[in-house]
Amino acid sequence: MTHPEEILLEIEGLEKSFGDRKVLEGINLQVGKGEVIVILGPSGCGKSTFLRCLNGLEPVQAGRIHYRSQDLAKPDVDFREVRQHIGMVFQNYELFPHMTVIENILLGPLKVQKRSRDEAQRQAEQLLERVGLLDRKDAYPRQLSGGQKQRIAIVRALCMNPEIMLFDEVTASLDPEMVREVLEVILGLAKQGMTMLIVTHEMGFARSVGDRIVFMDQGKICEISSPEQFFTSPSTERAQHFLDIFQYDKL
């Protein structure tokens, strides 16, 4: 999928600062329909900030984000509308503790999208079934494990029928034995052709799920390549260095 036919999202010269501090310095990226992009890079390089800019959780200073004939970098964008199409799950993405699993999932479809309860509920149950958690639909979040919570969080985002999903280190705070069950859900989405941008520190997962690897450093994209190429012979020294550190960390 290196040359997708239909471009869904096109980012040009995106810049973002916090105060005087430049965090993103001219990001260019095209995302094709059905493409899975994995973003890698050292801590603090701006991966999270980049994803947050894409659904309006952070305002940007310059550049363009073309999506559905809109420019999401403009200040007057209706992000309530956009966020129904660009779903996001992040590390600290939380379920609402005062609602049951099913209430959590239905909040968006019912209150934001104003869909009928029957229809939304049917879809929610299908999705729950798929992640193996249908029997927990009336549980409260505190009764669930970290991995279960994160799978529910993904279902909650999916139940809005998004066109693009953003995942930011969704397994970072999980115990190792729970990482797998969450990553499998995302792998399943990739097989179904969901367009995704994924930030992760799981290199094996990055390699198997990604159509392209985007390597960022200090607010810039240094390298975009296929997983094979990136993990065997990255073209930049910084990427090589990053991979070396990772291998060292694993020991």
Binding site: R83, L95, H98, K111, A157
Partner: protein, 225 residues
Amino acid sequence: MQNSGIRVLFEGSNFERLLGGLLVTIEIAFISIIIGVVLGTIMGLLRTLNSRPLKAILRLYLEAFRIIPILVWLYVVHFGFSPLLGIDIDGEVTAILVFSLWGAAEIGDIVRGGLESLPRHQLESGKALGLGTRQLYRYILIPQAVRRMLPGAINLATRMVKTTSLVVLIGVIEVVKIGQQIIELGVIKAPTASFWVYGFIFILYFLVCYPLSRLSKRAERRWQN
């Protein structure tokens, strides 16, 4: 001897009088809590705004009630302000005034705590679902804040019920005062009257406060995250 002591409770209308006194107690606490919740919610919201002078003033206000005993407040308003302003403030009104202001201070603190402790991630998670500001408040912020505040508010109500016993000292006839009156009359015939009357008041307070304290424990357990 003991028999005659317990009989004092049921002589004449003593029993009803004691319950009537309890009603005064509950009334003062109840009205004060209602007013306190309304004023306190406003104060709590004001305290989450980013105004330093406002924060300082409201903080001082809270400390004033925490540091100065309620009895002193009651005296200051009843015996101090009444003559100063040239109006006669009824004991019960004084009590409600002081207890409401105290309630507002404490509820304000509870509301501020409930709002400030809401994690940023809850809001962002809601935003990421496309919820608007009003929906965020309605479905996420307020329900959670209320759950967090309820145990503290019930706890305060219990403390208020107990503290109302002080209003005897500004001449309000409530349950303890009526108990004293009954004892004064009955003690000649039955020397153990005071044991039975105070024992009964003891139980009355327990019956009012225990369910409250249970309720707050349950709310705490049920909603703790």
